[in-house]
């Protein structure tokens, strides 16, 4: 694709002397994959599309909910219940009809990541859980693909660039040099529980788009081997220089075969003595015996579950309602991604150490995808 016929669209950035026609042509030739069309993905996608990145991929298997709208600004009230990737693609085509947009309405796994990433020059991580973040990092490291990382919580955000060699020092680092060990999910908190101020992913996602544009065009100095922490309450930035881990405690995949065999859900799950149940074991347990299933998500959270009967007790109400749980059967707690249900099992065991209880590993969203396939 050539920008000449669309000169006016990109005029204001082409007249930047550091940028010019050369950088614009590089953007039009570039292929960027944005993982997660959420708080980070929405602003990143908007600016990358507007700036004229020639091919953009969007992977997300979620649907729009009302709790997304305060920060996921590509979506409107009448998009609630629609697929995020497809909806985002429609909005982006309105912003810039001259670029190619490819959507992937499925969950990213280690079985599809390598093949998918190979089609792109650069990957933007806008996901919301640690297992996927380590998976994306490892796939990009194996493929030697630049990865623009961003994460948010409450009023603070992090942004950085991985797998990009610093031409001066010849050093290249990634997420495992920043956080070699995954956090214990019992202590890790998500935006679903802890909250996030709406503008924050807007700022961090826009910084991710900025870094992507800098890497593609070669204009400026990308956040290579650096992570920036932003605090919205203080309006302050603090930067960290990432140094390579020389003696890793955790082993991680070094090639495609090891990557395919690596269990990311397990790697990021609690190594404490809390019991989890896999999709296959959950199916077997459900068919073999009568069990009590408890949804610890908030009452309005999607997706709807109509495959089996369950009791709804949001995690924050659980401590007060423990006594109301029937304990004559085995219990399976579930939530969206498997973190809150893990905390629920721990709370439950404090009161009922003698009852068998499990947390559905990976969460109900992924279970439904699994269930539809089998």
């Amino acid at each position: 694709m050539s920008f000449t016929q669309n000169n006016d669209r990109y005029h204001r950035q082409i007249i930047l002397k550091e940028f010019g026609e050369t950088a614009q042509q590089k953007l039009l030739n570039a292929k960027v994959l944005v993982i997660g069309a959420g708080g980070l993905g929405c602003p990143a996608l908007q600016y990358l599309a507007a700036a004229g990145v020639g091919a953009i991929g969007i992977i997300d298997f979620d649907v729009v909910t009302i709790t997304n709208l305060h920060r996921q600004i590509l979506f409107s009230a009448n998009d609630i219940g629609k697929q995020k990737a497809a909806t985002a693609a429609i909005k982006l085509a309105q912003i810039n009809p001259e670029i190619q947009i490819q959507i992937y309405n499925f969950q990213l796994t280690n079985k599809n990541a390598i093949e998918l990433f190979a089609n792109y020059d650069l990957v933007i991580d806008g996901t919301d859980n640690f297992a996927t973040r380590y998976l994306i990092n490892d796939a990009c490291a194996i493929l030697n693909k630049p990865l623009v990382y961003g994460a948010v919580l409450r009023f603070e955000g992090q942004v950085g660039v991985f797998n990009l060699i610093d031409n001066e020092t010849k050093i290249k680092t990634n997420y495992r040099d920043l956080f070699p060990e995954p956090p214990n999910p019992l202590n890790a908190i998500s935006c679903n529980e802890a909250g996030v101020i709406g503008v924050l992913p807007g700022i961090i996602g826009t910084m991710q788009a900025t870094e992507a544009i800098k890497i593609i065009t070669g204009v400026g100095k990308p956040l290579c081997n650096k992570i920036i922490s932003y605090n919205a309450l203080q309006n302050s930035f603090y930067d960290f220089e990432i140094t390579p881990v020389l003696n890793p405690i955790e082993t991680f995949p070094q090639n495609e075969m090891e990557f395919l065999n690596f269990n990311y859900e397990w790697f990021c799950s609690s190594k404490d003595n809390v019991s989890v149940i896999s999709f296959i074991d959950f199916e077997e347990l459900r068919t073999k015996e009568k069990i009590t299933i408890i949804d610890v998500r908030e009452r309005n959270e999607l997706p709807l579950v109509n495959e089996f009967d369950f009791i709804s007790i949001p995690l924050n109400e659980l401590p007060n309602l423990l006594a109301s749980i029937p304990t004559d059967n085995k219990i399976v707690f579930f939530c969206k991604s498997g973190n809150r249900s893990l905390k629920a099992v721990k709370l439950f065991y404090e009161k009922y150490p003698q009852i068998t209880a499990f947390s559905l590993i990976g969460g109900i969203h992924a279970w439904q995808q699994f269930n539809n396939k089998t």
């Binding site: 997660g36 959420g38 708080g39 980070l40 993905g41 991580d125 806008g126 996901t127 919301d128 859980n129 640690f130 973040r133 961003g150 994460a151 948010v152 919580l153 409450r154 603070e156 992090q158 040099d177 920043l178 956080f179 070699p180 060990e181 995954p182 956090p183 214990n184 019992l186 202590n187 890790a188 908190i189 998500s190 935006c191 802890a194 996030v196 992913p201 992570i227 922490s229 605090n231 203080q234 603090y238 930067d239 960290f240 220089e241 990432i242 140094t243 881990v245 020389l246 003696n247």
Partner: protein, 77 residues
């Protein structure tokens, strides 16, 4: 000898401040031990530690007026 400690993310909730100062700490292992004594909940969080903005992975000597930053992982998006 005085060390300044900056904390980020959910760590500031645990120490109930965004920074603190500690005296007579010789290296980062001693620092972690002291922090776990003062704030036992810190031990549950796997944070990354930087001295004067440079991330370190091994026990490292500390000097007067070093600034140590503790960065926890978070995954929201």
């Amino acid at each position: 000898m005085k060390i300044k400690i900056l904390v980020f993310g959910q760590l500031s909730e645990i120490i109930n401040a965004s920074e603190l100062e500690l005296l007579a700490i010789n290296n980062t292992d001693e620092l972690n031990k002291k922090l776990f004594e003062l704030y036992p909940k810190l031990e549950d969080i796997k944070y990354t530690l930087a001295i004067n903005k440079k991330i370190i992975h091994e026990n490292t000597q500390l000097y007067h007026e070093d600034i140590v930053a503790l960065l926890p992982p978070f995954s929201g998006g």
